[in-house]
Protein backbone atom coordinates (compact mmCIF):
# COMPACT_ATOMS: atom_id res chain seq x y z
CA UNK A 1 0.00 0.00 0.00
CA UNK A 2 1.30 3.36 -1.02
CA UNK A 3 0.49 5.61 1.92
CA UNK A 4 1.81 8.78 0.36
CA UNK A 5 -0.46 8.30 -2.59
CA UNK A 6 -3.40 7.54 -0.32
CA UNK A 7 -2.92 10.68 1.75
CA UNK A 8 -2.39 12.70 -1.40
CA UNK A 9 -5.65 11.37 -2.83
CA UNK A 10 -7.50 12.15 0.37
CA UNK A 11 -6.21 15.71 0.26
CA UNK A 12 -7.19 16.00 -3.40
CA UNK A 13 -10.57 14.52 -2.67
CA UNK A 14 -11.27 16.90 0.18
CA UNK A 15 -10.22 19.92 -1.88
CA UNK A 16 -12.39 18.89 -4.78
CA UNK A 17 -15.11 17.91 -2.36
CA UNK A 18 -15.24 21.32 -0.72
CA UNK A 19 -15.82 22.88 -4.13
CA UNK A 20 -18.55 20.35 -4.93
CA UNK A 21 -20.11 21.00 -1.56
CA UNK A 22 -20.33 24.74 -2.26
CA UNK A 23 -21.96 24.06 -5.63
CA UNK A 24 -24.27 21.47 -4.09
CA UNK A 25 -25.44 24.00 -1.51
CA UNK A 26 -26.60 26.39 -4.20
CA UNK A 27 -28.43 23.63 -6.06
CA UNK A 28 -29.96 22.38 -2.89
CA UNK A 29 -31.18 25.76 -1.64
CA UNK A 30 -32.77 26.70 -4.93
CA UNK A 31 -34.31 23.29 -5.36
CA UNK A 32 -35.62 23.41 -1.82
CA UNK A 33 -37.45 26.65 -2.42
CA UNK A 34 -38.52 26.56 -6.04
CA UNK A 35 -38.40 22.81 -6.75
CA UNK A 36 -36.40 23.90 -9.74
CA UNK A 37 -33.18 22.45 -11.01
CA UNK A 38 -30.98 25.42 -11.80
CA UNK A 39 -29.10 23.96 -14.74
CA UNK A 40 -27.20 27.23 -15.15
CA UNK A 41 -25.68 26.94 -11.68
CA UNK A 42 -22.39 25.52 -12.96
CA UNK A 43 -22.05 28.48 -15.28
CA UNK A 44 -22.31 30.87 -12.36
CA UNK A 45 -19.26 29.09 -10.98
CA UNK A 46 -17.52 29.61 -14.30
CA UNK A 47 -18.34 33.31 -14.30
CA UNK A 48 -17.06 33.54 -10.72
CA UNK A 49 -13.80 31.98 -11.83
CA UNK A 50 -13.50 34.54 -14.62
CA UNK A 51 -14.29 37.42 -12.28
CA UNK A 52 -11.56 36.20 -9.94
CA UNK A 53 -9.19 36.00 -12.87
CA UNK A 54 -10.14 39.52 -13.91
CA UNK A 55 -9.50 40.88 -10.42
CA UNK A 56 -6.18 39.06 -10.31
CA UNK A 57 -5.11 40.64 -13.59
CA UNK A 58 -6.37 44.05 -12.57
CA UNK A 59 -4.39 43.95 -9.32
CA UNK A 60 -1.13 43.21 -11.07
CA UNK A 61 -1.30 39.50 -11.84
CA UNK A 62 0.11 36.52 -9.99
CA UNK A 63 3.79 37.44 -10.44
CA UNK A 64 3.52 40.98 -9.30
CA UNK A 65 0.42 41.64 -7.20
CA UNK A 66 0.01 45.21 -5.97
CA UNK A 67 -1.60 44.13 -2.69
CA UNK A 68 -0.72 41.46 -0.15
CA UNK A 69 -1.45 37.96 -1.36
CA UNK A 70 -4.01 37.17 1.34
CA UNK A 71 -5.85 40.39 0.61
CA UNK A 72 -5.74 39.64 -3.08
CA UNK A 73 -7.33 36.24 -2.54
CA UNK A 74 -9.99 37.71 -0.29
CA UNK A 75 -10.77 40.40 -2.86
CA UNK A 76 -10.98 37.85 -5.64
CA UNK A 77 -13.39 35.70 -3.68
CA UNK A 78 -15.50 38.66 -2.62
CA UNK A 79 -15.72 40.04 -6.14
CA UNK A 80 -16.68 36.62 -7.47
CA UNK A 81 -19.32 36.24 -4.78
CA UNK A 82 -20.88 39.60 -5.52
CA UNK A 83 -20.72 39.06 -9.28
CA UNK A 84 -22.01 35.50 -9.04
CA UNK A 85 -24.75 36.58 -6.67
CA UNK A 86 -26.03 39.27 -8.99
CA UNK A 87 -25.81 36.95 -11.96
CA UNK A 88 -27.91 34.42 -10.07
CA UNK A 89 -30.47 37.07 -9.22
CA UNK A 90 -30.62 38.16 -12.86
CA UNK A 91 -31.10 34.58 -13.99
CA UNK A 92 -33.94 34.14 -11.54
CA UNK A 93 -35.57 37.40 -12.48
CA UNK A 94 -35.45 37.00 -16.23
CA UNK A 95 -35.31 33.29 -16.94
CA UNK A 96 -37.28 31.67 -14.13
CA UNK A 97 -39.71 34.12 -12.59
CA UNK A 98 -41.79 34.61 -15.73
CA UNK A 99 -42.20 30.83 -15.83
CA UNK A 100 -43.45 30.06 -12.35
CA UNK A 101 -46.82 29.06 -13.76
CA UNK A 102 -45.63 27.60 -17.04
CA UNK A 103 -45.48 23.87 -17.72
CA UNK A 104 -42.86 22.23 -15.58
CA UNK A 105 -40.47 21.64 -18.44
CA UNK A 106 -40.33 25.31 -19.50
CA UNK A 107 -37.98 26.65 -16.78
CA UNK A 108 -35.64 23.74 -17.38
CA UNK A 109 -35.42 24.57 -21.06
CA UNK A 110 -34.98 28.21 -20.17
CA UNK A 111 -32.15 27.15 -17.86
CA UNK A 112 -30.53 25.22 -20.68
CA UNK A 113 -30.75 28.35 -22.79
CA UNK A 114 -29.21 30.51 -20.05
CA UNK A 115 -26.38 28.05 -19.60
CA UNK A 116 -25.72 27.89 -23.32
CA UNK A 117 -25.92 31.66 -23.62
CA UNK A 118 -23.49 32.31 -20.78
CA UNK A 119 -20.97 29.75 -21.99
CA UNK A 120 -20.97 31.03 -25.52
CA UNK A 121 -20.89 34.66 -24.43
CA UNK A 122 -17.72 33.96 -22.49
CA UNK A 123 -16.38 32.09 -25.49
CA UNK A 124 -17.21 35.10 -27.62
CA UNK A 125 -15.57 37.58 -25.29
CA UNK A 126 -12.55 35.64 -24.08
CA UNK A 127 -11.95 32.90 -26.63
CA UNK A 128 -11.64 29.15 -26.14
CA UNK A 129 -8.16 29.16 -24.57
CA UNK A 130 -7.69 28.07 -21.00
CA UNK A 131 -6.85 30.97 -18.70
CA UNK A 132 -4.51 30.38 -15.83
CA UNK A 133 -4.48 31.83 -12.33
CA UNK A 134 -0.77 30.99 -12.21
CA UNK A 135 -1.27 30.12 -8.57
CA UNK A 136 2.22 28.69 -8.24
CA UNK A 137 3.54 32.19 -8.75
CA UNK A 138 1.03 33.54 -6.29
CA UNK A 139 1.90 31.16 -3.49
CA UNK A 140 4.95 28.96 -3.75
CA UNK A 141 4.10 25.28 -3.85
CA UNK A 142 6.60 24.64 -1.04
CA UNK A 143 4.64 26.77 1.38
CA UNK A 144 2.35 24.49 3.27
CA UNK A 145 1.65 22.28 6.20
CA UNK A 146 3.53 19.07 6.71
CA UNK A 147 1.61 15.91 7.48
CA UNK A 148 4.16 13.18 8.03
CA UNK A 149 6.26 12.98 4.89
CA UNK A 150 3.70 14.93 2.91
CA UNK A 151 3.56 18.65 2.36
CA UNK A 152 0.07 20.03 1.84
CA UNK A 153 0.11 23.20 -0.19
CA UNK A 154 -1.26 26.14 1.76
CA UNK A 155 -3.70 27.11 -0.99
CA UNK A 156 -5.42 23.75 -0.67
CA UNK A 157 -5.86 24.42 3.00
CA UNK A 158 -7.13 27.91 2.22
CA UNK A 159 -9.67 26.42 -0.16
CA UNK A 160 -10.92 23.89 2.34
CA UNK A 161 -11.00 26.44 5.15
CA UNK A 162 -12.82 29.00 3.01
CA UNK A 163 -15.40 26.45 1.92
CA UNK A 164 -15.90 25.31 5.48
CA UNK A 165 -16.24 28.88 6.75
CA UNK A 166 -18.85 29.68 4.11
CA UNK A 167 -20.82 26.56 4.90
CA UNK A 168 -20.79 27.37 8.60
CA UNK A 169 -21.91 30.89 7.82
CA UNK A 170 -24.77 29.56 5.73
CA UNK A 171 -25.71 27.11 8.45
CA UNK A 172 -25.94 29.93 10.97
CA UNK A 173 -27.85 32.07 8.50
CA UNK A 174 -30.44 29.38 7.83
CA UNK A 175 -30.91 28.19 11.40
CA UNK A 176 -30.46 31.37 13.41
CA UNK A 177 -31.70 34.35 11.45
CA UNK A 178 -35.06 35.67 10.44
CA UNK A 179 -34.16 35.33 6.77
CA UNK A 180 -33.27 31.69 7.41
CA UNK A 181 -36.61 31.12 9.01
CA UNK A 182 -38.37 32.75 6.08
CA UNK A 183 -36.37 30.58 3.71
CA UNK A 184 -37.31 27.42 5.51
CA UNK A 185 -40.95 28.44 5.65
CA UNK A 186 -40.98 29.22 1.93
CA UNK A 187 -39.33 25.91 1.15
CA UNK A 188 -41.89 24.09 3.24
CA UNK A 189 -44.98 25.66 1.72
CA UNK A 190 -44.68 28.69 -0.50
CA UNK A 191 -48.35 29.63 -0.43
CA UNK A 192 -48.69 29.33 3.31
CA UNK A 193 -45.52 31.38 3.77
CA UNK A 194 -46.93 34.10 1.56
CA UNK A 195 -50.11 34.16 3.60
CA UNK A 196 -48.10 34.54 6.79
CA UNK A 197 -46.74 37.80 5.42
CA UNK A 198 -43.45 36.56 4.04
CA UNK A 199 -42.45 38.34 0.85
CA UNK A 200 -41.81 35.15 -1.08
CA UNK A 201 -40.26 36.85 -4.10
CA UNK A 202 -37.69 38.56 -1.91
CA UNK A 203 -36.85 35.32 -0.17
CA UNK A 204 -36.39 33.63 -3.53
CA UNK A 205 -34.16 36.45 -4.75
CA UNK A 206 -32.04 36.27 -1.62
CA UNK A 207 -31.79 32.51 -1.90
CA UNK A 208 -30.57 32.84 -5.45
CA UNK A 209 -28.10 35.50 -4.40
CA UNK A 210 -26.63 33.43 -1.61
CA UNK A 211 -26.53 30.18 -3.55
CA UNK A 212 -24.99 31.85 -6.59
CA UNK A 213 -22.49 33.77 -4.45
CA UNK A 214 -21.29 30.44 -3.06
CA UNK A 215 -20.93 29.12 -6.60
CA UNK A 216 -19.01 32.25 -7.60
CA UNK A 217 -16.64 31.75 -4.68
CA UNK A 218 -16.27 28.11 -5.63
CA UNK A 219 -15.17 29.25 -9.08
CA UNK A 220 -12.30 31.27 -7.60
CA UNK A 221 -11.32 28.36 -5.37
CA UNK A 222 -11.21 26.09 -8.41
CA UNK A 223 -8.99 28.59 -10.19
CA UNK A 224 -6.69 28.83 -7.19
CA UNK A 225 -6.02 25.14 -6.73
CA UNK A 226 -6.53 23.68 -10.17
CA UNK A 227 -4.99 26.59 -12.04
CA UNK A 228 -6.80 26.84 -15.32
CA UNK A 229 -10.31 27.92 -16.21
CA UNK A 230 -12.32 28.06 -19.43
CA UNK A 231 -15.82 28.74 -20.65
CA UNK A 232 -16.92 25.13 -20.42
CA UNK A 233 -15.66 24.34 -16.92
CA UNK A 234 -19.03 24.96 -15.27
CA UNK A 235 -20.59 21.92 -16.87
CA UNK A 236 -18.54 19.32 -15.03
CA UNK A 237 -18.69 21.10 -11.69
CA UNK A 238 -22.43 21.55 -12.09
CA UNK A 239 -22.96 17.85 -12.71
CA UNK A 240 -20.81 16.77 -9.79
CA UNK A 241 -22.29 19.40 -7.52
CA UNK A 242 -25.75 18.18 -8.36
CA UNK A 243 -24.69 14.59 -7.72
CA UNK A 244 -23.35 15.69 -4.36
CA UNK A 245 -26.65 17.37 -3.55
CA UNK A 246 -28.60 14.23 -4.42
CA UNK A 247 -26.29 11.94 -2.49
CA UNK A 248 -26.47 14.15 0.57
CA UNK A 249 -30.19 14.65 0.27
CA UNK A 250 -31.47 17.57 -1.75
CA UNK A 251 -32.64 20.44 0.43
CA UNK A 252 -30.34 19.57 3.33
CA UNK A 253 -27.31 21.73 4.18
CA UNK A 254 -25.29 19.12 6.06
CA UNK A 255 -26.28 16.73 3.31
CA UNK A 256 -24.78 18.99 0.66
CA UNK A 257 -21.53 19.28 2.63
CA UNK A 258 -21.29 15.59 3.23
CA UNK A 259 -22.31 14.72 -0.32
CA UNK A 260 -19.72 17.12 -1.71
CA UNK A 261 -16.90 15.57 0.28
CA UNK A 262 -18.12 12.08 -0.56
CA UNK A 263 -18.20 12.75 -4.30
CA UNK A 264 -14.86 14.57 -4.14
CA UNK A 265 -13.23 11.62 -2.41
CA UNK A 266 -14.89 9.12 -4.71
CA UNK A 267 -13.61 10.99 -7.73
CA UNK A 268 -10.10 11.38 -6.33
CA UNK A 269 -9.88 7.70 -5.48
CA UNK A 270 -11.17 6.56 -8.81
CA UNK A 271 -8.74 8.85 -10.59
CA UNK A 272 -5.99 7.37 -8.46
CA UNK A 273 -6.87 3.72 -8.56
CA UNK A 274 -9.09 2.98 -11.53
CA UNK A 275 -6.14 2.18 -13.75
CA UNK A 276 -4.66 -0.29 -11.28
CA UNK A 277 -8.00 -1.86 -10.47
CA UNK A 278 -8.94 -2.46 -14.09
CA UNK A 279 -5.37 -3.47 -15.04
CA UNK A 280 -5.01 -0.47 -17.29
CA UNK A 281 -8.17 -1.09 -19.28
CA UNK A 282 -9.81 2.09 -18.04
CA UNK A 283 -7.84 5.30 -17.71
CA UNK A 284 -8.38 8.05 -15.18
CA UNK A 285 -10.74 9.75 -17.64
CA UNK A 286 -13.27 7.13 -16.59
CA UNK A 287 -13.49 8.47 -13.06
CA UNK A 288 -16.65 10.26 -14.15
CA UNK A 289 -18.13 6.84 -14.71
CA UNK A 290 -17.70 6.05 -11.03
CA UNK A 291 -19.42 9.26 -9.95
CA UNK A 292 -22.22 8.54 -12.41
CA UNK A 293 -22.68 5.05 -11.01
CA UNK A 294 -22.88 6.49 -7.50
CA UNK A 295 -25.57 8.87 -8.70
CA UNK A 296 -27.59 6.13 -10.38
CA UNK A 297 -27.29 3.80 -7.40
CA UNK A 298 -28.42 6.51 -5.02
CA UNK A 299 -31.34 7.45 -7.22
CA UNK A 300 -32.51 3.86 -7.34
CA UNK A 301 -31.84 2.81 -3.78
CA UNK A 302 -32.21 5.97 -1.73
CA UNK A 303 -33.53 8.82 -3.85
CA UNK A 304 -33.98 11.02 -0.81
CA UNK A 305 -30.21 10.90 -0.18
CA UNK A 306 -28.39 10.28 3.07
CA UNK A 307 -29.82 13.15 5.07
CA UNK A 308 -33.12 13.66 3.28
CA UNK A 309 -36.56 12.49 4.25
CA UNK A 310 -38.65 10.57 1.74
CA UNK A 311 -41.15 12.81 0.07
CA UNK A 312 -44.83 12.10 0.44
CA UNK A 313 -46.77 12.33 -2.78
CA UNK A 314 -49.53 14.86 -2.57
CA UNK A 315 -52.79 13.59 -3.95
Amino acid sequence: MDWDKLVQLIVNGLTLGSVYALVALGFSMVYGILKLLNLAHGDVLMIGAFIGWGVLGWLGGAQDPVVAVWLLIVLMILAAMVGGGFLGVAIERFAYRPLRRAPRIAPLISALGVSFFIQNSVLLLFGANFRSYESFDLVDVEVGVSVGPLNIWILRIVVMAAALAMMLGLWILVTRTKLGKAMRATAFDREAAAMMGIDVDRVIVKTFFIGSALAGAAGVLVGLVFGSINHFMGFGYGLKGFTAAVVGGIGSIPGAMFGGLFIGLAEAFSVGYIEDLTRGRLGSAFSDLVVFLILVIFMLVRPQGIFGKPEVKKV
Binding site: K309, V312, K313, V315
Partner: protein, 268 residues
Amino acid sequence: MTSDALHGPLLDIRGLSLSFGGLRVLDELDFAVGEREIVSVIGPNGAGKTTLFNVITGVYPPEAGDVLFDGASIVGLDPHKIARRGIARTFQTLRLFLNMTVKENVMAAAYGHTRAGIVRSVLRTPGMRREEREIGQLAEDRLAFFGDRLVGYRWGQPAYSLSYANRRRLEIARATAANPRLLLLDEPAAGMNPVETNEITELISRLREEGGFTILVIEHDMHVVEGISDRVVALDHGVKIAEGTYERVATDPRVVEAYLGTSAIEDT
Protein backbone atom coordinates in the same frame (compact mmCIF):
# COMPACT_ATOMS: atom_id res chain seq x y z
CA MET B 1 -68.09 -10.56 -13.21
CA THR B 2 -70.40 -11.03 -10.26
CA SER B 3 -69.34 -12.33 -6.92
CA ASP B 4 -72.39 -12.72 -4.79
CA ALA B 5 -72.69 -12.45 -1.06
CA LEU B 6 -71.60 -16.04 -0.63
CA HIS B 7 -68.13 -15.13 -1.83
CA GLY B 8 -67.78 -12.38 0.71
CA PRO B 9 -67.65 -8.62 0.20
CA LEU B 10 -66.19 -6.96 -2.90
CA LEU B 11 -63.84 -4.81 -0.86
CA ASP B 12 -62.60 -5.98 2.49
CA ILE B 13 -60.33 -3.77 4.56
CA ARG B 14 -58.62 -5.48 7.48
CA GLY B 15 -56.58 -3.83 10.19
CA LEU B 16 -55.29 -1.11 7.87
CA SER B 17 -52.72 1.21 9.50
CA LEU B 18 -50.55 4.00 8.19
CA SER B 19 -48.70 6.89 9.79
CA PHE B 20 -46.87 9.89 8.43
CA GLY B 21 -43.92 11.03 10.50
CA GLY B 22 -45.29 9.58 13.70
CA LEU B 23 -48.82 10.79 13.11
CA ARG B 24 -51.28 7.93 12.95
CA VAL B 25 -53.44 8.59 9.87
CA LEU B 26 -55.13 5.20 9.65
CA ASP B 27 -55.39 3.09 12.74
CA GLU B 28 -56.38 -0.57 12.55
CA LEU B 29 -59.20 0.22 10.20
CA ASP B 30 -61.69 -2.56 9.37
CA PHE B 31 -64.71 -2.45 7.13
CA ALA B 32 -66.19 -4.04 4.08
CA VAL B 33 -68.18 -3.01 1.05
CA GLY B 34 -70.49 -5.56 -0.53
CA GLU B 35 -71.16 -5.97 -4.24
CA ARG B 36 -73.43 -3.16 -5.55
CA GLU B 37 -73.53 -1.42 -2.23
CA ILE B 38 -73.15 2.34 -1.78
CA VAL B 39 -71.11 3.17 1.30
CA SER B 40 -70.25 6.67 2.44
CA VAL B 41 -67.16 7.55 4.44
CA ILE B 42 -67.59 10.61 6.61
CA GLY B 43 -65.47 12.33 9.18
CA PRO B 44 -63.96 15.72 9.96
CA ASN B 45 -61.06 17.09 7.98
CA GLY B 46 -57.89 15.13 8.62
CA ALA B 47 -59.79 12.02 9.64
CA GLY B 48 -57.88 9.99 7.05
CA LYS B 49 -60.59 9.61 4.41
CA THR B 50 -58.57 10.55 1.35
CA THR B 51 -55.60 8.65 2.75
CA LEU B 52 -57.85 5.60 2.89
CA PHE B 53 -58.57 6.02 -0.83
CA ASN B 54 -54.87 6.43 -1.51
CA VAL B 55 -54.08 3.20 0.28
CA ILE B 56 -56.85 1.28 -1.49
CA THR B 57 -55.68 2.52 -4.90
CA GLY B 58 -52.04 1.74 -4.14
CA VAL B 59 -50.65 5.28 -3.96
CA TYR B 60 -49.36 4.68 -0.43
CA PRO B 61 -48.40 1.26 0.86
CA PRO B 62 -50.00 0.53 4.24
CA GLU B 63 -47.79 -0.24 7.21
CA ALA B 64 -50.03 -2.99 8.44
CA GLY B 65 -53.23 -4.66 7.42
CA ASP B 66 -54.63 -5.90 4.17
CA VAL B 67 -56.95 -4.79 1.42
CA LEU B 68 -58.86 -7.60 -0.25
CA PHE B 69 -60.59 -6.93 -3.52
CA ASP B 70 -62.89 -9.67 -4.73
CA GLY B 71 -61.22 -11.99 -2.25
CA ALA B 72 -57.61 -11.33 -3.29
CA SER B 73 -55.10 -9.04 -1.60
CA ILE B 74 -54.16 -6.01 -3.66
CA VAL B 75 -51.60 -4.57 -1.26
CA GLY B 76 -48.24 -4.02 -2.93
CA LEU B 77 -49.58 -4.02 -6.48
CA ASP B 78 -48.74 -1.10 -8.76
CA PRO B 79 -51.59 1.42 -8.81
CA HIS B 80 -52.35 0.78 -12.49
CA LYS B 81 -52.70 -2.93 -11.78
CA ILE B 82 -55.12 -2.25 -8.97
CA ALA B 83 -57.04 0.01 -11.33
CA ARG B 84 -57.13 -2.77 -13.92
CA ARG B 85 -58.55 -5.20 -11.41
CA GLY B 86 -61.55 -2.91 -11.23
CA ILE B 87 -61.05 0.01 -8.85
CA ALA B 88 -61.32 3.50 -10.30
CA ARG B 89 -61.48 6.80 -8.47
CA THR B 90 -62.01 10.50 -8.73
CA PHE B 91 -59.94 13.12 -6.99
CA GLN B 92 -60.99 15.68 -4.44
CA THR B 93 -58.58 18.17 -6.01
CA LEU B 94 -59.58 17.34 -9.60
CA ARG B 95 -56.78 15.83 -11.64
CA LEU B 96 -57.99 15.91 -15.20
CA PHE B 97 -55.76 15.75 -18.26
CA LEU B 98 -56.36 19.45 -18.72
CA ASN B 99 -54.87 19.94 -22.16
CA MET B 100 -56.57 16.96 -23.71
CA THR B 101 -60.08 17.08 -25.09
CA VAL B 102 -63.06 16.00 -23.03
CA LYS B 103 -63.50 12.87 -25.10
CA GLU B 104 -59.80 12.02 -25.01
CA ASN B 105 -59.87 12.27 -21.22
CA VAL B 106 -62.45 9.53 -21.12
CA MET B 107 -60.89 7.45 -23.90
CA ALA B 108 -57.50 7.53 -22.17
CA ALA B 109 -58.94 5.74 -19.15
CA ALA B 110 -59.89 2.81 -21.38
CA TYR B 111 -56.18 1.99 -21.68
CA GLY B 112 -56.44 -0.89 -19.25
CA HIS B 113 -59.00 -2.86 -21.23
CA THR B 114 -57.65 -2.23 -24.71
CA ARG B 115 -54.80 -4.02 -26.41
CA ALA B 116 -53.44 -2.37 -29.54
CA GLY B 117 -49.69 -1.94 -29.18
CA ILE B 118 -47.36 0.31 -31.14
CA VAL B 119 -47.11 -1.95 -34.18
CA ARG B 120 -50.84 -2.48 -34.55
CA SER B 121 -51.51 1.20 -33.96
CA VAL B 122 -49.14 2.24 -36.68
CA LEU B 123 -50.35 -0.39 -39.14
CA ARG B 124 -53.94 0.58 -38.34
CA THR B 125 -55.03 -3.05 -38.32
CA PRO B 126 -58.77 -3.75 -38.48
CA GLY B 127 -58.68 -4.91 -34.86
CA MET B 128 -57.07 -1.67 -33.75
CA ARG B 129 -59.58 0.41 -35.66
CA ARG B 130 -62.46 -1.52 -34.18
CA GLU B 131 -61.01 -1.01 -30.72
CA GLU B 132 -60.70 2.73 -31.35
CA ARG B 133 -64.31 2.88 -32.52
CA GLU B 134 -65.41 0.95 -29.46
CA ILE B 135 -63.69 3.17 -26.95
CA GLY B 136 -64.84 6.24 -28.86
CA GLN B 137 -68.37 4.93 -28.47
CA LEU B 138 -67.72 4.05 -24.85
CA ALA B 139 -66.51 7.58 -24.15
CA GLU B 140 -69.57 9.09 -25.81
CA ASP B 141 -71.84 6.80 -23.79
CA ARG B 142 -70.15 7.64 -20.51
CA LEU B 143 -70.34 11.34 -21.23
CA ALA B 144 -73.99 11.02 -22.22
CA PHE B 145 -74.62 9.81 -18.70
CA PHE B 146 -74.67 13.46 -17.64
CA GLY B 147 -77.45 14.48 -19.99
CA ASP B 148 -76.49 17.12 -22.52
CA ARG B 149 -73.79 18.72 -20.39
CA LEU B 150 -70.80 16.95 -21.85
CA VAL B 151 -71.93 15.97 -25.31
CA GLY B 152 -71.69 17.30 -28.84
CA TYR B 153 -69.30 20.17 -29.29
CA ARG B 154 -67.92 19.61 -25.81
CA TRP B 155 -66.19 16.41 -26.92
CA GLY B 156 -63.59 18.31 -28.83
CA GLN B 157 -63.01 21.00 -26.23
CA PRO B 158 -59.98 20.90 -23.97
CA ALA B 159 -60.79 19.87 -20.42
CA TYR B 160 -59.48 23.14 -19.02
CA SER B 161 -62.32 25.01 -20.71
CA LEU B 162 -64.90 23.26 -18.56
CA SER B 163 -66.63 24.80 -15.57
CA TYR B 164 -65.88 23.48 -12.13
CA ALA B 165 -69.01 21.34 -11.90
CA ASN B 166 -68.43 19.94 -15.37
CA ARG B 167 -64.89 19.05 -14.40
CA ARG B 168 -66.26 17.02 -11.51
CA ARG B 169 -68.64 15.30 -13.92
CA LEU B 170 -65.83 14.59 -16.35
CA GLU B 171 -63.80 13.04 -13.56
CA ILE B 172 -66.64 10.64 -12.85
CA ALA B 173 -67.07 9.85 -16.54
CA ARG B 174 -63.36 9.19 -16.86
CA ALA B 175 -63.36 6.87 -13.86
CA THR B 176 -66.28 4.86 -15.20
CA ALA B 177 -64.53 4.43 -18.56
CA ALA B 178 -61.91 2.30 -16.86
CA ASN B 179 -64.75 -0.24 -16.50
CA PRO B 180 -64.35 -0.63 -12.75
CA ARG B 181 -66.44 -2.72 -10.41
CA LEU B 182 -65.72 -0.43 -7.50
CA LEU B 183 -65.91 3.31 -7.90
CA LEU B 184 -64.26 5.54 -5.32
CA LEU B 185 -65.68 9.06 -5.37
CA ASP B 186 -63.75 11.65 -3.38
CA GLU B 187 -66.14 14.48 -2.45
CA PRO B 188 -68.15 14.47 -5.68
CA ALA B 189 -70.35 17.34 -4.50
CA ALA B 190 -67.61 19.62 -3.21
CA GLY B 191 -67.99 23.15 -4.47
CA MET B 192 -71.32 22.54 -6.16
CA ASN B 193 -74.44 24.63 -5.74
CA PRO B 194 -77.60 23.10 -4.23
CA VAL B 195 -79.14 22.25 -7.61
CA GLU B 196 -75.99 20.56 -8.79
CA THR B 197 -75.67 18.77 -5.46
CA ASN B 198 -79.15 17.33 -5.89
CA GLU B 199 -78.20 16.18 -9.35
CA ILE B 200 -75.09 14.47 -8.06
CA THR B 201 -77.11 12.66 -5.43
CA GLU B 202 -79.42 11.33 -8.09
CA LEU B 203 -76.54 10.51 -10.35
CA ILE B 204 -74.72 8.39 -7.80
CA SER B 205 -77.80 6.22 -7.39
CA ARG B 206 -78.13 5.97 -11.16
CA LEU B 207 -74.49 4.91 -11.41
CA ARG B 208 -75.36 1.85 -9.42
CA GLU B 209 -78.68 1.15 -11.12
CA GLU B 210 -77.53 1.63 -14.69
CA GLY B 211 -73.80 1.05 -14.47
CA GLY B 212 -73.82 -1.72 -11.93
CA PHE B 213 -70.99 -0.15 -9.96
CA THR B 214 -70.28 -0.63 -6.30
CA ILE B 215 -69.58 2.78 -4.84
CA LEU B 216 -67.50 4.02 -1.93
CA VAL B 217 -67.87 7.75 -1.52
CA ILE B 218 -66.29 10.39 0.66
CA GLU B 219 -68.70 13.24 1.21
CA HIS B 220 -69.13 16.15 3.56
CA ASP B 221 -72.61 17.16 2.50
CA MET B 222 -74.91 15.25 4.84
CA HIS B 223 -77.88 15.57 2.49
CA VAL B 224 -75.94 13.74 -0.16
CA VAL B 225 -74.83 11.14 2.34
CA GLU B 226 -78.37 10.65 3.52
CA GLY B 227 -79.68 10.44 0.00
CA ILE B 228 -77.36 7.80 -1.35
CA SER B 229 -75.94 5.62 1.38
CA ASP B 230 -76.84 2.05 2.16
CA ARG B 231 -74.33 2.31 4.94
CA VAL B 232 -72.13 5.00 6.46
CA VAL B 233 -68.66 4.62 7.98
CA ALA B 234 -67.44 7.44 10.21
CA LEU B 235 -63.73 8.03 10.72
CA ASP B 236 -61.89 10.22 13.17
CA HIS B 237 -58.11 10.33 13.42
CA GLY B 238 -57.91 7.23 11.31
CA VAL B 239 -60.13 5.20 13.62
CA LYS B 240 -63.55 3.92 12.71
CA ILE B 241 -65.86 5.45 15.28
CA ALA B 242 -69.20 4.36 13.91
CA GLU B 243 -70.71 2.26 11.17
CA GLY B 244 -74.25 1.52 10.10
CA THR B 245 -77.26 3.20 8.56
CA TYR B 246 -77.25 6.94 8.08
CA GLU B 247 -79.64 7.50 10.99
CA ARG B 248 -77.55 5.44 13.37
CA VAL B 249 -74.26 7.03 12.48
CA ALA B 250 -75.53 10.60 12.25
CA THR B 251 -76.87 10.43 15.78
CA ASP B 252 -73.99 8.49 17.25
CA PRO B 253 -72.59 10.59 20.12
CA ARG B 254 -69.00 9.89 19.10
CA VAL B 255 -69.66 11.14 15.60
CA VAL B 256 -71.30 14.28 16.90
CA GLU B 257 -68.36 14.77 19.21
CA ALA B 258 -65.89 14.32 16.41
CA TYR B 259 -67.61 16.95 14.34
CA LEU B 260 -68.49 19.47 17.00
CA GLY B 261 -65.87 18.87 19.68
CA THR B 262 -66.24 17.63 23.21
CA SER B 263 -67.73 20.80 24.55
CA ALA B 264 -70.77 20.43 22.35
CA ILE B 265 -71.61 17.19 24.09
CA GLU B 266 -71.10 18.62 27.53
CA ASP B 267 -73.30 21.60 26.76
CA THR B 268 -76.24 19.48 25.76
